[in-house]
Symmetry: C3
Subunit: 210 residues, 3 copies
């Protein structure tokens, strides 16, 4: 159990660091000042978990309990503004870190729903909200339609990760560490394949004049 918590914590730190840096770059594309950059980095990294906790009544929020994560994300955002080109050139690395973040966030969301004795559907809802809401808030603050609604299967990975994790933990009753690692492995591979082959959900376009 201890080693599972340690693993999840390390992966979570990797995830929020990567999300903070990519959030900062998104802010840079909209010519924001230092506060805007840091704010959007924070929202991207910990916004999804905050929304999940508020909706599920799960207090205190992670960053309220661990303010050191705020400092870490501010630091990552500042680093990203200093070396934007390097971050962009390391695109593959960041896509992988982002994939890890997405799946770890999903696992955490599902686990919190499980801790609250919710069933399969709310576990998946917890996974999706944690995984994608940070990006949705980032895009709302940049006044654009959220990318996750239009891009390669991103939310789908959160749904799959939540479903696999719940199945392994609750129905197959595996050891939590094994569940975490198995979900992580499948989720990250699926995400990277989705990017490589540009898998996407069907687009629903409806434009009839009303």
């Amino acid at each position: 159990m201890e080693i599972n918590v340690l693993t999840i914590t390390i992966l979570y730190i990797i995830g929020i660091s990567a999300e903070g840096m990519t959030g900062a770059l998104a802010a840079g594309r909209h010519k924001m000042d230092l506060f805007g950059v840091i704010f959007i980095a924070l929202v991207t990294a910990i916004g999804g978990g905050s929304i999940r906790d508020v909706l599920l009544g799960h207090y205190p929020l992670t960053w309220v309990k661990h303010p050191e994560y705020i400092i870490l994300i501010c630091f990552c955002a500042l680093v990203a503004t200093k070396i934007p080109r390097i971050v962009t050139q390391l695109e593959r690395l960041f896509l992988t870190l982002d994939a890890i973040g997405l799946v770890v966030f999903s696992i955490l969301g599902a686990q919190i729903a499980i801790d609250q004795n919710h069933g399969f559907i709310i576990a998946i809802a917890g996974a999706v909200i944690t995984g994608v809401f940070g990006g949705i808030l980032r895009d709302i603050l940049c006044a654009r339609i959220p990318l996750v609604f239009q891009k390669e299967i991103y939310a789908g990975i959160a749904i799959i990760a939540g479903a696999i994790y719940y199945t392994l933990v609750i129905w197959l009753e595996f050891n939590t560490l094994i569940c975490t690692l198995a979900t992580l492995f499948i989720g990250v591979i699926a995400r990277l394949l989705a990017i490589k082959y540009q898998w996407s959900l069907p687009i629903f376009s409806y434009n009839e004049e009303k």
Copy 2:
């Protein structure tokens, strides 16, 4: 009392189904993928109630307690993407269902405020938040100024419904079922008249250079 709960539940299910379908069509007008369509349908149908519950500290949220509503709305959203033209042609039917949803949401919001021993103003606030916030969130996610701020009297119906319901329940101490049906009757008629005669609130336009 039992029959009142049953009535409200049936009307609530009609309301979220209609909101889910129209939310899905709104997403289709912005070329979103399947996840975007379902997400926006969910936000439109249950976003208002979620915001109300979070602001009033009313846990657990309805959809957390009844995940079957999530399934229902997903199903309605998918149906709407298959038959968008039919939904559009049934415009009158959907406007009526939407009007029922608006008034039922308002009644539920006012009732929850009453259950928490709040007074007239918070009952109306609960009605308005439940009634219109779903549409506001839908429009924010579509990156446009919320329609309810610019269209025919919509929020006004939620205010009137909340005020009538509070008056009947608290000041006149009528039977709850009677209060529900009377509010529903007046609210839906008022909404349909507002659409027919395009009643609207005065627009405040202010453009002086600052």
Copy 3:
């Protein structure tokens, strides 16, 4: 202590009145109807405090406990729509009232974090969220990138106010009234100087094609 609460309450009322009026004018620039104007005035004035309370699990929210503030803000919004030109001509007065509001909101946010036994970082987070989130929500509802991310040092004042207040209250253990007045004095002066000399944070603009 009593006099401190009175002072804070009076300043808070000044703050929400000014925010309500400027929020209403912002709505007027986007041609909204009466409901939109009042809704945006309310969100601008009490949205930041609401988000803070929800994130910190601090119930009931201020306006739920004191619905009379809702009436006050509605009234201020209506007044602003009647005399928009006068409000604009009194720009200096309103900038000063807005500065007072910003600093008082920040003090309240920091104080609530302190009441909950949080440390320095969460006190500053409470100050910033209370001080700037109203304006952020207003701009999201007007479908534009939040001004606080691009303008003269605004959020910076909330951070400074939170830091000074926390230092005076917790580390130097001054009398609360003195802490409030000292923070208010420094914060408002700093804000007015920031406007006068157009102090701003460095802009991070990053536009390399991805």
